[in-house]
Symmetry: C2
Subunit: 329 residues, 2 copies
DNA sequence: TCGCCTACCTTGAACGATCCAATGCCGATG
DNA sequence: CATCGGCATTGGATCGTTCAAGGTAGGCGA
């Protein structure tokens, strides 16, 4: 159990002053070649590691990024966020940042938590997920000039702040085109009630694709809350129509799984495509639209480090999902 | 955008010294009633929040707990860790701690990360998940007297360090007894190769329960790597026996789902019970043994705060799982 | 009146890093 | 030879908090 190794220990060991060691760490180019090497060797030899707390107190930066972890209300869709979180942690690690978790129920409490984290831990930035219309969180952060990125577009003012998102419309369009190519003509959509940015986006991809081939007349569109039971109920209603659809594009894997079960139970041949490519979809063989979550996370970190280092780049990024085919379509 | 509010600001506002403010925060009982009240009012009025970095520099404690986030190799079983993580974040929040994430591939890299986190961030404690025989991580931490708790027993030396675990044997025993009560006699076990602590534990519950009723002779026991395909293959092998089992207890939901699909595809009536009560099990209606992950997380935090505050309590805790019945058994 | 104790509060120093201003060193130049 | 400029290096101050030691007033007993 060695003594505490500080910048002074390194300085003594390398026969230089503390400031020179600090320069080697922060502005290496102003230190002479051989001095730099000597200091670096001392750092390695002593196993020195800069104390974040001390650095933070002077610089006001903590190299910490906060992300909210959801209450996992829905076991199926929760996995999407978890995969994103993992990607985020990995990329942040590589960029020298660490990820701090927090929970909050409701926007007010979340904003209170921002205040808390900023005051107590000097957080460098936030990553928000699941943006919605008129999001009070982004307004609060923007007002205080706190760096942040959202995974999800701001649905009201497109250029308000840096964001990364996946183009849901492209995903459902891809799914719809695949079904059309397979010979389907009556292709339904099963999604969420209008008003949510994400849901409307996914619906739009299906709708425009159907319109392009002049089939939007014969295309039933159902809206319900998310859930397996809800999906099953709506699918049964669809199958009971006079001219029932032969395929259905869904806004989530929960709805898709419900629809898939409804079809199986009633012995109907119904092609189903879900959204998010969750483990459940993979497990039961459901085709689904897959978001590039790892890349989205990496882009978020890139954007943040850009902002933090004062070199903000193109701050809006729309990624493309991919259709994963299994035996449900 | 007000000025930075420090302990000195509060002190001026309340007409006392910095130290008195500090005392109000840390050792309130030594401050006179009305002084205490005056300081508290100033704190609220100014919106003061203690700066963690400064506090940490003095005390050496960061109020930060580190947890590793897994690479989610398996989408099904990954959800167990995620639920645990959520519970941990919530409980830690309530206890005044924050959760820091990290990733690492392999034990060596994980230990290097410990070193890094301890040196740079002065982490207070670690929560480890997924213990195994001869775990080098716990040895490293114990040697340096770093506080930590594991979620999962140390399989070699039971009393080496604080841990919380769920009694897998009780879970599979419960499942087995349920199947016996439902009239099954030929009850198989489908698990992992011997040698993993968790897997052996789950197998033991089934084996002893079958032995208790003298049925261990007619009880096939299969071992394979985890996975849906593997579960399906082994289940088919079981069903091809001369006296095929009428029920199977599985070590995971992945294996159970495979077995369940094998039975459905071959038109066989096979009762299946999985383990972990993952979203997939819930989605497809698979009965499963459910771990009290929220409570496990809460106990981990309790143990840690106990150790950190110098009041260690009974440091080993074995929780009981519950059988969740759906229509697969 | 004095001394001592207790209860409460204040002052100075320290944690480990960075920033700022000042110093020493070197060769080049007038 | 004296002066200058450029650059590496040095010492001191600083961030916000807690720790250790020091002060002050009032109460009590002799």
């Amino acid at each position: 159990m060695g003594e505490k190794v500080t910048i002074a220990t390194v300085a003594r060991h390398a026969q230089v002053s503390r400031q020179t060691v600090s320069n080697v760490l922060n502005t290496p180019h102003i230190v002479r070649e051989d001095t730099r090497r000597r200091v670096r060797e001392a750092i390695v030899a002593l196993g020195y590691r800069a104390n974040q707390a001390a650095r933070q107190m002077r610089t006001g930066r903590s190299r910490l990024i906060a992300v909210r972890i959801e209450p996992t209300r829905d076991g199926i869709n929760g996995s999407v966020l978890d995969r994103f979180l993992h990607g985020l942690t990995e990329t942040a690690d590589a960029a020298g940042y660490r990820v701090l978790l927090y929970t909050a129920v409701g926007d007010d409490q979340e904003i209170a938590t921002y205040d808390d984290l900023l005051g107590a831990y000097d957080l460098d930035a936030f990553v928000l997920t699941g943006t919605k219309h008129g999001d009070p969180r982004t307004a609060w952060l923007a007002e205080r000039e706190v760096p942040f990125v959202t995974f999800g577009r701001p649905w009201d003012t497109p250029e308000a702040h840096p964001w990364v998102d996946v183009d849901g419309a492209t995903g459902t369009a891809q799914a719809t085109r695949h079904l059309l190519a397979a010979g389907h003509r009556r292709i339904a959509f099963l999604g969420w009630p209008a008003g949510s940015g994400v849901g409307d986006d996914r619906r739009a991809g299906w709708r425009t694709t159907m319109a392009e081939v002049g089939l939007d007349g014969a295309a039933p569109d159902r809206a319900t809350e998310d859930g397996i039971a809800e999906g099953e109920r709506e699918a049964r209603a669809l199958l009971a129509l006079d001219a029932p659809p032969t395929a259905v594009v869904c806004a989530s894997d929960s709805l898709a799984l419900g629809a898939w079960q409804a079809a199986r139970d009633t012995g109907t041949d119904l092609a189903v495509v879900g959204f998010d490519d969750t483990p459940v979809a993979a497990a039961v063989g459901l085709s689904s639209v897959s978001q590039p979550l790892g890349e989205a996370a990496a882009r978020c970190v890139e954007l943040l480090t850009g902002v933090l280092d004062g070199q903000p780049r193109d701050p809006q990024l729309l990624l493309h999902p991919a259709l994963v085919l299994r035996h449900s379509a």
